[in-house]
Subunit: 156 residues, 2 copies
């Protein structure tokens, strides 16, 4: 069997759509995070730090480190250091739990809320620009397809 330019073997149609779907998701995400970083970082925080702040604001109450990690789909070590930097900037504060003293609760401070307020409009505008080519029906379909993918993920 002839090989195709160094590729080891031809893919079936099914394999091809699988690969294209995966590559499409990964590439699109890469491009999107770059755009969001470009809007957010000039304000002195990174995209991930922004996400933590939004989670804390959305929760409306202090959250333990692990809970933030769960919502960020991310391991604890990364979260700890992310919180370190946010704390150093005065955007959040951490308090050792009293009930369970292993936990560290994290709350957004007013400076953090103020920063989020500044970013709300530009970020919402960028959300919209990112999916501008899609009508409402297409957006809903996209959201649905991605949810199906996540739900069916092996070991997840």
């Amino acid at each position: 069997m002839k090989t195709v330019k160094g590729s080891s073997r031809r893919l079936t149609a099914r394999e091809k759509t699988a690969q294209q779907s995966v590559v499409g998701i990964l590439q699109t995400a890469d491009e999107l995070s770059r755009r969001f970083a470009a809007v957010i970082e000039p304000h002195g925080i990174t995209l991930q730090q922004f996400n933590v702040l939004r989670i804390l604001r959305g929760a409306g109450e202090p959250l333990p480190t692990m809970e933030i990690g769960a919502r960020m789909i991310q391991k604890a070590p990364g979260i700890t250091r992310l919180l370190d930097r946010l704390e150093k900037k005065g955007l959040i504060e951490r308090v050792r739990g009293t009930d369970d003293r292993r936990q560290v609760f994290c709350a957004i401070r007013s400076a953090g809320l103020a920063l989020l307020r500044q970013l709300d409009a530009p970020v919402a505008a960028l959300d919209e620009r990112c999916v501008a080519p899609l009508g409402m029906g297409q957006r809903e379909r996209l959201i649905q397809l991605l949810a199906s993918v996540r739900k069916g993920l092996p070991g997840g």
Copy 2:
């Protein structure tokens, strides 16, 4: 106007689908890369290193650093160090260009090709598992929707 649990303002339906689409893409990509990393890293290379090797194999000829960067949608500095590590592992080799001596051409070595051959089947299998819940029609729709998003991206 009452605020919703710390959130600054209510989103319109349109804004909400935009945000959900973006978040969905980013989260799904996160989960997917984790799965691929879990399959690839036990073989001694990272997901990004694997991507570089696949690009080099697919090209079928040595590529300059910048060209690899373009295909990875990534800036040059990152590529340089990625190539450093692949070179140290003996999976690629670099040669200073003769025509334009600023360029550094990068070629995959036989050890790199052998490693890719080992990974081809498990990676294709994972591609398939990742989108297993979707039928062919849905995969094609997903690929199309993501392509529309990328095509319409501001400044891209």
